[in-house]
Structures are given as structure tokens and as C-alpha cells.
Symmetry: C2
Subunit: 259 residues, 2 copies
DNA sequence: TCAAAAGTGTTATAGGTACACCCATGT
DNA sequence: ACATGGGTGTACCTATAACACTTTTGA
């Protein structure tokens, strides 16, 4: 089966490329295998981190189609013609998790020539962070299964998704120090221990309790409430909340957490 | 003029995309405008920063072809079929500056649907830093002119290159704090004042001389030589050099400059 | 002798680190 | 009463910032 392409449009498309332009002008364009021009595409891949009670996980799908059928992989999709990159990543996320309004962040673009066995596909990696429990496992047409995976003991991943995951983890550590993204995974009212555990889990180190609390006292947008934990078999903790208004005021001045 | 495309290959190419797959299976593929599939490409754009004596500049080209003919723009090109992204950026750099072995760094990928007037083109932005003087202005087939531009008073740029430039500048500031990239722009033997001026220029702030020098003393890979400046009409400065061996030892332990 | 930049020293303050210890609750 | 985690205080040390001062060269 074949399809017709308007050559004038190819010219338009490639006129900014020196090499392509000269080939169109100087060589016999018709003899160039069409693959060389067109067997390429771009996609987004989402590294969806899930946090719940000191556990950091990644959402993987089991691929239901070739290539890499049966392998675990990061959820992703080709970018639609009329869709921004961020939009494509949001869509993948929404389709898979039925959660919208999740902030995403671009981290890196992967473009090794041989990274996709069926053609030239470059992929833009995004990260997101959600509460592991918020996710209602979603039936999806691309995936035969969907599962949270612990970061230790990862299965063999499809494509170059292992590299992407590594890069995403670095990106997450970066972001954690610059933005209060724990607002997405901690309950509305949380304890300082919960906050500390969040940082410890993501950054892979521990903090001194007293020093951590001293630091938090200086952070204007972490507001202490007149409320306590209940029904815990230890001294109840004071509850805190994120004060978005104060955060927006301070963040304009380049404020960051800085533990 | 028209061109033939093997539909089987389109199927291969798009089989990982849920939406595309369902369109192929359920809709009449032949009625889908070919543009929607194929009028897309990816490119790299290089933000080449030049440093020389407290001056930070960017290398821009004047576009010799439509679109944006006559506008200043970042040098860039479509990625060739058998070329990695990093390779494409290196090639653009080498073609333009005839300098090879320049380290580059990917910063961000831009993919707004309407960012290119002739089609869907996403572009991966790279940054590089060179000594302004090292560059021999290079005749190029894509550019009618090439010029170093100061960062203040930028001309109107083609495409979304203004956004790319902003993002690249942020990326440069990041890198400066993590890696000793001044090795690329300072002379083999340099003075501490030159080093301080470098940081001041890139970061847009000043440092106290005494404190800066105290910091540098702790940095193992900045080695003081038994050599002095000559023929300067002030007290001659001691010369220093970058000790690559010591740097490699220390950087493994996550060492960074940290002013 | 002067200008210009190199280079050193001092001091006050802030912040990090490592502890020790007391407190409130359910069982 | 005791286990469990909440919460506070202190003492030491190091980093930072601001500033003043001395030194060495060419003109």
C-alpha cells in the first residue's frame, strides 16, 4: 500500500536544513529512500514517581505490543500533530492515571539513533510525582498491565528506559530542593516527621530531627495549625499545612527550601 | 509533485502510539491528510556563549533563507537520520566555528506547535562556551552573516529563539556552579582575578576579593604555579592552573566549586 | 611618588552538626 | 510502667560577609 506526499511540502519542511536543501537542489530527490526523510517521530515518556509512607516507586506499564512486547516500560506516546510537548506528557499521565492537574517537569531528551528498533524516534522525558494511593489502576489500550515498582530491584526495561529513569531520578532530587513538591504527596495537614521522611526518602539520606525542625521554623509558607494528631499511641504531633499565598510571595524573591 | 510512501512502514512507525494505531485500524487511513503524519521534524539549536575579558556574548547568525530571512537566530539544523542529538549539535558547532572538541550540554527541548511557521518542528537546545577570540568567523551556507552579540540589547530573534536563549542562560549559570568550565575560556595559566571576573560575569554579581581567594585555596584542583605575571603596571599576580588529575579524583566524590 | 591591582588579616555573625534530654499519649 | 515518637535546648565548630590594611610593580 502506498500513499501520496506533496513534494512541495517536503521542500518547505526541509528548506531550513542545509544538507536537505542541497540534496533537493543538487541530487535526484526521487531516488532518496523515503525512510530516510520520514521514518522519524518524537514521543514523550513519563517517569511517574509515586510516594507513600517512606516508599518511592515508579509506575511502569507492561507493553502489550511489539517492539519489546511483554517488557516493562515507562508510559509514553507519540506527540500528536497539534499538541505541545507538555500537553502530550499531561495527556499520557491523564490517560493512565485519570489524574489531571499534576504538575510535570521536562528533564531531558533522548535521541540515540538506535534507541527505537522500528525507526528514528527521539523522546522527551518528563517527571511527575503523585501519591501512590491516589492512583486507581487504569485499563489502558497500550498496556497489558500497570504496576508500581520499587526503585531497587528494577526489571529489565524496554528501549533506553533505564537511562531515562536514572536521569529522571537525578531530576527529582534537583526539584525537591528547589520546590515544595511534597504538597502533592503529603496530606493536607501533615506532621513535621512526615515532611522529614519525605526528604529523607527522596534524597536518600537522613536529617537530624532537631535541626530539621529548626530549619522548618524559618520557612514562612509552612504554617503550624492549632490542631493535633489523634488516636496515636504516642505523644500527638502538631499538624502543619502549606500556605500557598505566603509561598507565592516568597518564591518571587528566589526563595528555596535549602536543607 | 508527489511521492510514494509505503503504508506498511507507517504502521510500523506508529504502532506504539495508541491514537495512531486506532486510526489506522478503525478509520479510513487514506483520508487522513498526510501532513498530519509527516509534516514534522526535529532539530538542534546551539546557544554558543563566548567569553572574553569580562564580556559574555552569544553567537548569532543572520538567516539567509525563509522563514525569518534577514532575522538573527541561533545556529541550528535538522538532525540527520543517522546522527545522535549530541552529534548534531557538535556538527553545527564545528561547521560554524571550525572548533571541535567543545563540550556541549543539552538544556531543554522546545516544542510549541506553532513555533515553526512551516511545520511541526521540535528543537533540542544545547549550550557551549568558548573563548570569543578563538573563533574564526566562518563562511557558512546557511548564514549570510555571523556575529557575536552582547546579551544586553539583543535584536529581535527568529522563531522562539528568545525563549531558548533565556533558558540557556539559566542553564549556563547552573553549570558554572557545578563544573569548572572556565577551563575552556581562561588561558592555560591564569590569575585569581581572572577567575573571579569569570564568575562575576556569568553569575551577574560580585564577590569579595578576600573571601573568594580563601575559597579557592581549599579547591584542590586549582594549582598555584611558581610563576608570575610580567610587564604589568601593578604588582604582578601569581599564576594558577587547572589540575585535571586532581579534579578527576575529587569530582568522583561529588565535589563542586560552591562559591 | 602615585596609581593599580595583588595579597593578607580581623572580626562579628549566622548557620550547621551532634548531641542530650524532657514530654504526651495508648496500651 | 513502658514503648513510641513528639518536641526543645545547648554547645561547638565552621562558613560567610564586610572591611581594613599591607605589598609590589610600572610609569
Amino acid at each position: 500500500m502506498f500513499f501520496l506526499v506533496d513534494l512541495a511540502k517536503i521542500k518547505d519542511m526541509t528548506i531550513t536544513s542545509r544538507a536537505f536543501k542541497s540534496r533537493i537542489e543538487q541530487e535526484d530527490l526521487y531516488s532518496i529512500p523515503i525512510d530516510e526523510f520520514f521514518k522519524s517521530a518524537f514521543s514523550v515518556d513519563c517517569v511517574i514517581f509515586g510516594y507513600h509512607e517512606k516508599q518511592l516507586k515508579v509506575l511502569l506499564i507492561e507493553r502489550g505490543t511489539e517492539p519489546f512486547e511483554g517488557f516493562w516500560a515507562l508510559p509514553g506516546d507519540l506527540v500528536y500533530p497539534l499538541e505541545d510537548l507538555d500537553g502530550a506528557a499531561s495527556r499520557v499521565l491523564k490517560d493512565l492515571t485519570s489524574l489531571s492537574e499534576i504538575p510535570i517537569k521536562q528533564v531531558h531528551t533522548f535521541g540515540r539513533v538506535d534507541r527505537h528498533p522500528l525507526g528514528r524516534v527521539i523522546t522527551v522525558a518528563y517527571i511527575a510525582l503523585v501519591e501512590t494511593q491516589d492512583l486507581k489502576p487504569q485499563a489502558s489500550s497500550w498496556a497489558s498491565a500497570t504496576k508500581w515498582h520499587s526503585l531497587k530491584r528494577m526489571p529489565k526495561l524496554a528501549f533506553d528506559h533505564k537511562d531515562i529513569l536514572h536521569s529522571a531520578l537525578d531530576g527529582l532530587k534537583d526539584i525537591v530542593l528547589r520546590e515544595p513538591i511534597w504538597t502533592k504527596v503529603l496530606p493536607e495537614k501533615f506532621t513535621l516527621t512526615q515532611l522529614q521522611e519525605f526528604y529523607e526518602t527522596i534524597l536518600g539520606r537522613t536529617f537530624d530531627k532537631g535541626n530539621f525542625r529548626k530549619k522548618v521554623q524559618d520557612v514562612k509558607y509552612i504554617q503550624k495549625l492549632d490542631e493535633m494528631q489523634r488516636n496515636v499511641n504516642h505523644r500527638p504531633s502538631a499538624l502543619y499545612r502549606f500556605d500557598e499565598k505566603k509561598y507565592n510571595e516568597n518564591s518571587k524573591k528566589g526563595f528555596l527550601m535549602d536543607i
